[in-house]
């Protein structure tokens, strides 16, 4: 087994195992920690795919930002009151059936797909390449995203503040 294959399977195990733990733990704090493991695994996969910029962005934004937000909210709403309760929906067979059907269909698609031959990335560094693409070809969506973030900030502050 080559080194790359070893790291691939290690990171894939982290990502999938963490995800499975995150959706099954009864305690929300444990689920958040498991989600962190899963996100770290995905970050490692980005590194294997030579997407260094996304590797750093994943760790800073997802683990440093979103996960911290989750932990703060868990602290604010005292989720452990719901620990002893039923964790799954009363109509869980429907959800499980939908998931199973989607899984079978996507797995069949996955096994039949024919990819065109692989091409090489240009030899410049990954960060330069992403920056060129982002700021030359996708400049307008980039600016729209900043507007979206502004709206999200104002909206979440409005939603979460106490009624005067």
């Amino acid at each position: 087994m080559t080194l790359e294959a070893f790291f691939f399977y290690a990171f894939a195990t982290l990502a999938l195992g963490g995800a499975a733990l995150a959706v099954t733990r009864p305690s929300a704090v444990h689920a958040a920690i498991a989600l962190m493991v899963s996100l770290l695994g995905v970050a490692g996969l980005y590194l294997l795919l030579t997407a260094e910029f996304l590797f750093v962005a994943q760790i800073i934004l997802y683990i440093g930002g979103i996960l911290l937000l989750f932990l703060f909210v868990i602290m604010l709403v005292n989720l452990d009151a719901g620990r002893g309760l039923r964790q799954f929906h009363r109509r869980w067979p429907v959800g499980a059936a939908v998931t199973a059907v989607a899984g079978v269909v996507l797995a069949v698609l996955w096994s039949r797909v024919q990819l065109p031959p692989a091409q090489r990335m240009p030899e410049t560094g990954n960060v330069e390449l992403v920056a060129d693409t982002l700021l030359q070809d996708y400049l307008v969506p980039f600016e729209v995203v900043s507007l979206l973030l502004l709206v999200a900030v104002v909206g979440s502050v409005l939603l979460a503040r106490k009624r005067a």
Partner: protein, 96 residues
């Protein structure tokens, strides 16, 4: 293609969590898992086609995920203040 299989697994785990769990915070985490599956697919195909546009799209997806998490958790805080619950099936004011 192995990366796409991992992404498929993440998507299915996220879907299962989204549809089966009662806790709203866990449901939001499942949405993050699904978005991560999408990102992994985008980056894998970006590598395969030798084109950085997929990675740029993954950056956009991360930005939208941040906005979604902020707004979703804000809604969750407002909901908890009004109803004192975080279980989705106890939030049934609009149910007929």
């Amino acid at each position: 293609m192995h990366y796409v299989a991992v992404s498929l697994g993440l998507l299915l785990i996220g879907t299962a969590g989204l549809l089966l769990r009662r806790n709203i915070v866990i449901i939001l985490m499942s949405i993050e898992l699904i978005l991560n599956a999408v990102n992994l697919n985008l980056v894998a195909f970006s590598r395969h086609h030798g084109n950085a546009a997929g990675q740029v799209f993954a950056i956009f997806v991360i930005a939208v995920a941040v906005a979604e998490a902020a707004v979703g958790l804000g809604i969750l805080l407002a909901l908890f203040r009004n109803r004192e619950t975080v279980q989705v099936d106890e939030v049934d004011l609009l149910k007929w």
